[in-house]
Amino acid sequence: MDAHLICDAERRYPGGATIEARFEVPLDGFSVTVLFGPSGSGKTTVLRLLAGLERVDQGRIRAGGEAWSDAAQNIHLGPQARNLGFLSQDYDLFPHLSVYANLGYGLRDLEASARQARTEELLELLDLRGLGERRPAELSGGQRQRVALGRALARRPRLLLLDEPFTALDRPAQLRLRRELRELLRGLALPTVLVTHDRDEALHLGDRIVVLDQGRVCQSGDIQRAFDRPTDPAVARILGVETVVRGRVEGVAEGLATVAVGPARIFAADPGGLGQQAFVCIRGEDVAVERQGVAPSGSTARNRLPGTITTLHAEGALVRLSLDCGFPLECLVTRQACQDLGLVEGDAVTAILKAAAVHLIPHD
């Protein structure tokens, strides 16, 4: 059996807006597919098409060989028949029911004792012990999110759909819960589709990415590949790509993390919560360049990376240099500085950047 969700569907709105969704989601085991794009790009609509909350106007959605939607054959499976977990942006907990009843809402088919056991299990799994009798209005934002997640997981769905699950939370809670979420989903071996417009969130949680712009899929596939090699400038603009590379965390000491990226070692400020792997994000304007061979004059910058200039591209008053430092590194310098140093393609240089300018995103 083909263990993929295959989406090849269109949704048209009166007034001309069309959402075209063409991508695949693996359904065998844990993986997070991120639907990524600016607001208005149609991410939420795509998620609703998958959930069966919107009808497909053309094309089809198939899951593991089963037709969920097929416009040509007039097939439309309701959300009830898709065995999904769906978590909307504002959680939509039933306000008239307790946490306990919310968690058990979808378990009507089970006998009372089995339902109770499953509900207890979920309270445990999501760290909600002691809150069973509360109403949603009496919970904090993070607790509400966990209840909604537990409710979506209760029926052991084959696919979990999350629509911007962290937007309703404050920043520190977001960071903590992202990590917990990824651990949880991995533990449950649950394939997940997550909608977000937040690049950090996409990198933190995603294995695969589907980049959407103006209702159209621009690129989909492995997340590292999308950041490495955006298929077109639109994708690069949406992803905000400068340098995003995956590295291995070698150690953390006194607030400074050491990350191995290819043969290079990069020092970066410790964002907290680092595991084994992390994405290293560097903005082009934070990278300075000097010719190799110049004696270091003493600097606060922690990172001095030898490399060569692969391409040199003028962008107005600035010049974009692509360096090979054992990994591709983008940097942006003034045209003036570039001329003063007489830089050309192929030159050996040293890239200099402060540890504080290196942004690490944990990704295990």
């Binding site: 959300p79 009830q80 909307s88 939509d92 008239h96 809402y105 979808g106 009507r108 209760a154 029926r155």
Partner: protein, 224 residues
């Protein structure tokens, strides 16, 4: 005071409210959620009794229920008496006359339930009907209460339609409002005043109770 009329009125109002609830639940659900373009037509028909003079409604009902109409003929064949000037005829007339007072609060309450909650229920495997029972109805209790109270109070106070369809038969179609009219016609002001005071008191009481129960709801009071 004409206690027979009071009892009859309460009986009529209770039964009307009950029948209306059964009718209005599906009708209001349809009005709240349908995507049909001609929904406005149904809305207009349901709202008719709000603006129509009771005599006009009563006149048409009389025509529709009379022994020469198909319904009236069937009824007479089945039950041996005519619909007009009977309690059953009065009940039917009351149901139609109070229809908007039940349907409108229900429909607006149903439509006010957040879409996301309904969709969440669907995604948890519950059918549209089960979602109605488990989510929409419990979250619409304020509107349902309003509909019950308004229908009851409105039926209790109806006059024109009763006079047209029911006439004035003691114990069968003579309701409180008719009794008051009779008493005033007979210059019998004492009993008329007492009956009127009773109606005033009951109406005030049920409305006060409704407001009190709904006072914690976020939405400001709207009649319908």
């Amino acid at each position: 005071m004409d206690w027979q009329a009071v009892r009859l009125s309460v009986q009529l109002a209770s039964l009307t409210t009950l029948v209306l609830l059964g009718l209005a639940l599906p009708l209001a659900y349809w009005l709240a959620f349908t995507q049909r373009r001609w929904k406005f037509l149904v809305e207009a028909v349901v709202a008719m009794p709000l603006v129509l003079p009771p005599t006009v409604l009563g006149f048409y009902l009389l025509m529709a229920l009379g022994p020469r109409s198909p319904l009236g003929w069937l009824w007479e064949r089945a039950f041996g008496h005519t619909l007009p000037f009977s309690f059953e005829g009065l009940l039917l007339a009351s149901v139609l006359y109070s229809l908007p007072f039940m349907v409108q609060p229900l429909a607006s309450a149903f439509a006010g339930v957040e879409r996301g909650l309904i969709e969440a229920s669907w995604c948890l495997g519950e059918s549209r009907f089960r979602t109605f029972v488990r989510v929409i109805v419990p979250l619409s209790w304020g509107g349902i209460l309003t509909g019950l109270v308004l229908s009851f109070a409105h039926t209790l106070g109806e006059f024109g339609v009763v006079l047209m369809v029911g006439g004035n038969l003691p114990g069968r179609t003579r309701t409180v409002s008719i009794a008051i009219y009779d008493q005033v016609q007979a210059m019998d002001y004492g009993p008329a005043a007492r009956t009127a005071a009773l109606l005033l008191g009951v109406s005030f009481l049920v409305l006060t109770l409704t407001y009190a129960l709904r006072r914690s709801q976020r939405k400001p009071w709207t009649l319908i």
